[in-house]
């Protein structure tokens, strides 16, 4: 059976799923893989068309030689008394609108020598189109032919048949897209030893220590960094903070809300976008206030900050993102322990003493938080993501004991 017919379109156009499976995986971090990643990084950083997309530039930056070499070193150091090998075929299911995120996990799988099938979402965006054009161009070059033979990007794989086919070839699956998508893809049975890396519905939070905050420069910097974490993908990435825990002194909350809003307005390039935004925030705010779960918003403009009396699952489900922050005031850091359920992915922090934070996070009863990074780094990708260690999960560890 020619499996190419399973999809609306594939890239590279001459490659089919069957063809891909005839190629053996490549050695982990082989020179041709490193060359390809280097070429991709160069393209994304130098192509003038890419500059309009900050997240594409960020991706290009992350792929640069120095960073990848650091990862390779990490892989090698874990290979004492062991062989590290590819798992085989990795199938990636990409989310619809977080355009660049899935490329990070793809590069991790590629680096580990795997064959990859990337099932692209149906939604189109300029950034996604441009990334695909760049990839297609690189795949067509003879020096990257061995990469092009082992990496297939497919579009329109929605039929039962195509989903079965993808599930059956996978030695590992990377499932982006939240609870519903993950569960529906998992209904297609994969091999018994297939590893699923599931990116479920998560949300992220920031903790700000009001006792350590001063007006002026410091508050400005905080707002700038926080907006870096919340602006991309309209706050839709799971790692972008949607909840704001404010510890201690509350006197700067109002000024903080005002400055964050100013920061956001100042960075807008197309202010006419988001005509429905404030109404969505109003609905959320009134929905909360109606139930006595919140006070009147501190600001409801380009950004909305709503002081809430608690955080619960239903609230987080209603949270529509797009510059909306639920602010929960806490007396001490210890009160945070009750606010970190399993759904919390990333905790960013400002002005909180590291040792105290570490002690809190070590608490066995706390189910949430798979990443803890300083404010401004919420979206900085690392192969340790959402509680998974991708380079480990996407490779085989062959234990050696010659004794």
């Amino acid at each position: 059976m020619d499996k190419q017919n399973l999809f609306d379109s594939v890239m590279p156009a001459t490659l089919s799923l069957d063809d891909l499976l005839t190629q053996p995986p490549m050695p982990v971090a082989s020179q041709s893989i490193l060359n390809f990643i280097q070429a991709l990084s160069d393209t994304l950083l130098k192509d003038p068309a890419c500059r309009a997309f900050p997240d594409v530039v960020a991706l290009g930056f992350w792929l640069r030689d120095g960073n990848i070499k650091r990862l390779v070193k990490q892989i090698n150091s874990s290979a004492q008394q062991a062989l590290i090998k590819p798992v085989g075929t990795v199938v990636h299911y990409t989310p619809n609108n977080v355009d660049t995120m899935f490329l990070y996990s793809w590069v991790c799988a590629l680096l580990m020598g795997n064959r990859n099938v990337v099932r692209l979402g149906s939604a189109d965006s300029p950034a996604k189109q441009m990334l695909l054009t760049c990839l297609e161009r690189l795949f067509s070059l003879p020096e990257h032919a061995d990469i092009a033979f082992r990496n297939l990007f497919v579009q329109g794989a929605k039929s039962d048949e195509s989903n079965h086919a993808l599930a059956q070839v996978a030695d590992a699956r990377v499932l982006w897209g939240g609870d519903d998508s993950v569960l529906s893809i998992k209904q297609y049975q994969a091999k018994p030893r297939c590893r699923d890396i599931s990116f479920a519905d998560r949300y992220s939070a920031v903790v700000i220590n009001g006792d350590e905050l001063t007006d002026g420069e410091q508050l400005n910097t905080l707002c700038e960094l926080l907006w870096q974490d919340a602006k991309p993908y309209a706050q839709q990435a799971c790692s972008s903070p949607r909840v704001l825990f404010w510890l201690g002194d509350k006197s700067l909350q109002g000024e903080f809300a005002r400055l964050l809003n100013e920061q956001a307005i100042g960075q807008d390039t197309a202010p006419s976008d988001g005509i429905s935004r404030v109404n969505e925030h109003l609905v959320m705010s009134q929905w909360l206030q109606c139930q006595s779960l919140a006070d009147a918003p501190l600001v409801m403009n380009r950004v909305s900050v709503i002081p809430v009396h608690q955080i619960n699952a239903q609230m987080m489900e209603m949270h529509c993102g797009d510059a909306l922050f639920l602010m929960r005031t806490l007396d001490t850091l210890n009160d945070l322990a009750d606010c970190l359920p399993a759904r919390v992915q990333t905790l960013t922090y400002w002005g909180v003493e590291r040792d105290a934070l570490l002690k809190l996070l070590a608490e066995p009863s706390i189910q949430g938080v798979d990443r803890c990074v300083s404010v401004g780094k919420a979206l900085t990708f690392s192969p340790e993501w959402d509680g998974y260690r991708l380079l480990v999960s996407l490779s085989r560890y062959v234990q050696l004991d010659w004794g």
Partner: protein, 367 residues
């Protein structure tokens, strides 16, 4: 006197005024007094309202500083300001499939006042005589469970202006050609009332007549329609086209659109000869900047806020809609009616669900 009596007196007095005759300053003074009473009433009898709007409202509070409730809240909560025993009717908005409809709870006072206000407004266009009425809908639109969907409620509201109510459509939304022809033959030489929802009129009446090759002759008919242009805009059908086609297939030249919603039945905004929607004496309209909800200037498009003196049994006297509109002026419309006049530009775009929790869709699952 109790607050309820104060309110009823003030509202009744307002309803005795000409629909489009009060000076704007007089109207605002009267409305402010009513809204101060309504705020107090909802504050005392609707916990949700009390939780949301703690600010004081007096008869000096300008309309643009009154609290406003997002229209979607009526979908999310059962909001009412009277005891359950007093509820005589529950209106449901026309939620498209899968959407939760709004639920609007009416007591006998609000229900009565809605009818009274509507009668007053429509009489300005129809006169006092009951006319033979052709309803562009199916008789099945009426639910049996006492809960009224918006279409049935709208039809019921206008039905009191008609007699010999004739439904133009079969239960499957095809033309009931027999009923229509009989109606048309019987009443071709006298005034008749035709009512339907904008999209129904276009899709199941105008287009259906055209497709069937049938033409009607109702030169003295006056069509009233409402419900919004969203679906027609998608088909690139303008108000002009709509009117031209009605004339062509049914001989109807008098066509009046009006803007209203299930959340504020009664105080509807009628379109005048100049194509402008007019606020009646019981209602006012405000347009807000959609980016920060500040007041928009005359001539600027924004989000429509509707205010009505009628909602007593539910906290809906001041609602921020999800419709976009523009106020064009106050009291100086060429049609001669006083009050604020405006146009509607359609709905706010739906917010896409995006991001991590939205993969390339459900992978099929054979569904």
């Amino acid at each position: 006197m109790t607050m309820a009596e104060d309110y009823q007196n003030a509202l009744s007095a307002l309803l005795d005024e000409p629909v489009y005759g009060l000076s704007q300053s007089e109207k605002l003074t009267r409305l402010q007094a009513v809204f101060a009473l309504l705020h107090e009433h909802h504050n005392q009898h609707c916990t949700a309202y009390h939780n949301m709007f703690r600010q004081p409202v007096t008869c000096n509070t300008p309309l643009d500083q009154l609290p406003f409730i997002a229209v979607r809240l009526f979908k999310l909560f059962a909001l009412k300001s009277v005891p359950d025993n007093d509820v005589v009717k529950c209106l449901m908005s026309s939620g498209t499939s899968g959407q939760v409809p709004s639920r609007i709870f009416l007591d006998s006072l609000t229900s009565r006042m809605q009818s009274k206000a509507l009668v007053k407004i429509l009489q300005q266009f129809l006169g006092k005589q009951r006319l033979p009425m052709l309803i562009i809908d199916s008789p099945d639109v009426k639910g049996a469970d006492g809960k009224l969907n918006a279409r049935a409620a709208g039809i019921q509201g206008l039905a009191m202006f008609g007699r010999d109510h004739t439904y133009a459509l079969n239960p499957d939304m095809t033309l009931n050609t027999e009923a229509i022809s009989a109606f048309s033959q019987r009443y071709h030489d006298q005034p008749v009332l035709v009512f339907g929802f904008t999209f129904m009129v276009w899709q199941h009446f105008v287009s259906a007549l055209k497709a069937s090759g049938m033409t009607l002759h109702l030169p003295h008919a006056h069509l009233f329609h409402s419900g919004g242009w969203k679906k027609l805009e998608a088909q690139k059908v303008s108000n002009e086209t709509f009117k031209q086609q009605l004339l062509a297939v049914a001989g109807i030249s008098a066509v009046t659109n009006f803007y209203g919603m299930a959340e504020q039945v009664g105080s509807v905004f009628m379109e005048c000869e100049e194509g402008m929607l007019h606020a009646p004496v019981t209602a006012e309209v405000i347009v807000r900047n959609p980016y920060d909800l500040s007041l928009a200037k005359t001539g600027e498009s924004g989000l429509i806020q509707v205010l009505s003196a009628l909602p007593y049994s539910y906290p809906g006297y001041s609602i921020l809609t999800e419709d976009r509109g523009t106020i064009h002026g106050v009291g100086d419309c060429k049609c001669g009616r006083s009050g604020t006049y405006f146009t509607v530009q359609g709905r706010l775009p739906k917010v896409e669900v995006r991001g991590c929790s939205d993969t390339s869709s459900s992978p099929g699952l054979g569904a």
